[in-house]
């Protein structure tokens, strides 16, 4: 295993027995590598096997076939005792937070090191440090029932990090939170990734979460990884149908029928969709074409955002001018390497 790799799945399959004869295959030949210090996203619809997949990393789920490595240790081959030791290096947070209701916040955070050899004073100091890290130092003696969802997840993060783990597994960690709280939890996770260098694995069904913080993603469909790679290239050039559907949920670069009806294209006019497909410098395209080809470019829809410092999204414009000018403009646009150009024909962009 290369030194930069932290987790590796090799041909991992997993099936549950649903009855004596029937088996339900939850994971099918999964191969993936999670590198140190990265934020790795696993996205899929519910029932796709995301939660099972992430639980193979800390051995809460065992595999039917294949191997899961954490550093150089093969998880499924470890004794129960060594597996518990490895779990100390793997933090995990959940959709439902899973705080112990009968324990105070400080006791909850201390639970993973409660039976360690650390003295009481040392544990107290660590708990204090962790609660400060997640921004809840004043809640040490409160009980979980008095906290909001976002605060509960912060406590869960503090608990997951108290053992100084190398990796933090997040199983739908923001799915029970409102959008604003989701943002603040994602900010916190990003901060922890930067300041502690901790590797994050994020399981989610929300593309927005992936777009916000992930470096690399794997798209899971019915137990199979249909696509994986770095988040920017997947966003600009998705291959699998499912990936495209997920990306469409975050993109506004679509033209609705009602909008289409308001644009009455003349014979010469062309409706054109321009999408950024590489991270080369953004040039003032609209100005260039209008100066160069004396053409009018009317922006109908615009959705451009910066993903990991690179432009993502594009424009839908109407090119208006004489037939030759429009043809030249389209030719010029199609020669540009950092954009993809699609012209609206017969009811869709081609």
């Amino acid at each position: 295993m290369a030194s930069s790799e932290l987790v590796k799945f090799q041909h991992v399959s997993k099936s549950f027995k649903t009855s004596k004869k029937k088996e339900h295959e939850v994971l099918k030949d999964v191969n993936l590598v999670i590198r140190k210090g990265k934020i790795f996203g696993i996205i899929g619809y519910s029932g796709a096997g995301k939660s099972t997949l992430i639980r193979c990393i800390n051995g809460i789920e065992d595999t039917t076939q294949g191997k899961v490595f954490f550093e150089d240790k093969e998880i499924n081959q470890l004794s129960k005792k060594s597996l518990r030791q490895v779990r100390g290096q793997i933090g995990m947070i959940f959709q439902q937070f899973n705080l112990m209701p009968a324990r105070t916040i400080a006791e909850n955070v201390a639970l993973p090191i409660r039976y360690s050899k650390l003295g009481k004073q040392k544990i107290k100091e660590k708990v204090k440090k962790m609660l400060e890290l997640v921004g809840l130092p004043e809640k040490a003696n409160a009980y979980p029932s008095s906290l909001s969802g976002g605060q509960k997840q912060r406590v869960a993060i503090a608990r997951a990090l108290i053992n100084d783990p190398k990796i933090l597994l997040c199983d739908e960690a923001t799915s029970a939170l409102d959008p604003q709280t989701t943002q603040s939890i994602l900010e916190l996770l990003k901060k922890l990734n930067k300041s502690l260098g901790i590797t994050l694995v994020i399981v989610t069904h929300e593309m927005q979460v992936v777009e916000d913080i992930c470096d690399e993603i794997a798209v899971l469909n019915k137990g199979k990884i249909v696509e994986q790679g770095d988040v920017y290239s997947i966003f600009v050039n998705p291959q699998a149908e499912l990936t495209k559907r997920f990306i469409n949920t975050t993109s506004k670069l679509n033209i609705s029928d009602s909008l289409l009806n308001t644009i009455n294209l003349t014979e010469e006019q062309r409706l054109v969709k321009i999408t950024y497909i590489s991270d080369e410098a953004v040039v003032p395209l609209i100005s260039i074409i209008s100066l160069k080809f004396k053409i009018k470019a009317n922006i109908i829809v615009g959705d451009i955002k910066i993903l990991r410092g690179k432009p993502l999204g594009g424009l839908i414009i109407v090119l208006d001018g004489e037939s030759a000018q429009v043809t030249d403009t389209l030719k010029y646009l199609k020669e540009q390497k950092n954009i993809q150009v699609e012209v609206y024909q017969n009811g869709r962009f081609l």
Partner: protein, 226 residues
């Protein structure tokens, strides 16, 4: 005050020493068999929860044995159980009558019920909490102590209250077969000698006893809920 009691409970006042003795015997029976049964039921309850299918130490054989034994003893009516246990009671306690002779049948009679109660209290623990315990690397026994038991204090005190109230009922039944206590007193004086005030006095004392148990149980249960 004495005159008042003499008028209302003439037969109790004239047998006051026996009545007081009966109260003490009932308290002894409840306390001794209650404590022993609590420890046994906690042990069996934990075992049955962790050995169940999907439990943290799943073990079909242990679970099946426990489950069947509990069902067996729960299906025998208590008064028949006392009679059936007499030979064993003699071996264990040296006698089958008096307070000494009632402890063993009381424990055998209440423990299966108590175990089921503890089992249901422990089963209320959210699966997510158990999974979290495993995720943070707790050993099975640390999980039992720090998650199952710690998170169930409120439920356990609730079911213990229910069980002790049932146990008080059972102590009255053992009274009938020579066990002593308030049940014995009520039968001997109230029923057989037709002294109705003796029956009423027993009822009042039992009512007070049950109320005290209930109040303490509710208090602990509330205290443990956050």
């Amino acid at each position: 005050m004495d005159a008042f009691f003499s008028k209302l409970f003439p037969n109790v006042v004239s047998n006051l020493e026996v009545f007081n003795q009966a109260i003490i015997q009932t308290l002894q029976m409840v306390a001794i068999s209650g404590v022993i049964s609590f420890l046994l039921s906690l042990t069996f309850g934990i075992l049955i929860v962790i050995t169940k299918n999907g439990g943290i130490l799943a073990n079909r054989i242990v679970w099946n044995i426990l489950d069947k034994i509990i069902n067996l003893f729960r299906s025998i009516p208590f008064i028949i159980l006392i009679a059936a246990l007499i030979p064993v009671t003699r071996i264990i306690s040296g006698t089958a009558i008096g307070v000494k002779g009632t402890i063993f049948p009381l424990i055998v009679g209440i423990t299966p019920f108590f175990t089921r109660q503890i089992e249901s209290a422990l089963n209320e623990t959210d699966d997510g909490l158990i999974e979290t315990g495993e995720v943070i690397g707790l050993t099975p026994w640390q999980l039992v102590w720090s998650v199952y038991l710690h998170e169930s204090i409120s439920s356990i005190s609730r079911v213990t209250t229910i069980t002790i109230v049932s146990l008080i009922g059972l102590t009255a039944i053992v009274g009938v077969v020579g066990g002593g206590g308030l049940g014995d007193f009520a039968i001997q004086y109230g029923y057989q000698q037709n002294q109705f005030d003796a029956t009423i006095a027993c009822i009042i004392v039992l009512l007070i006893l049950v109320s005290i148990v209930q109040i303490i149980g509710t208090f602990i249960s509330k205290k443990a809920t956050h």
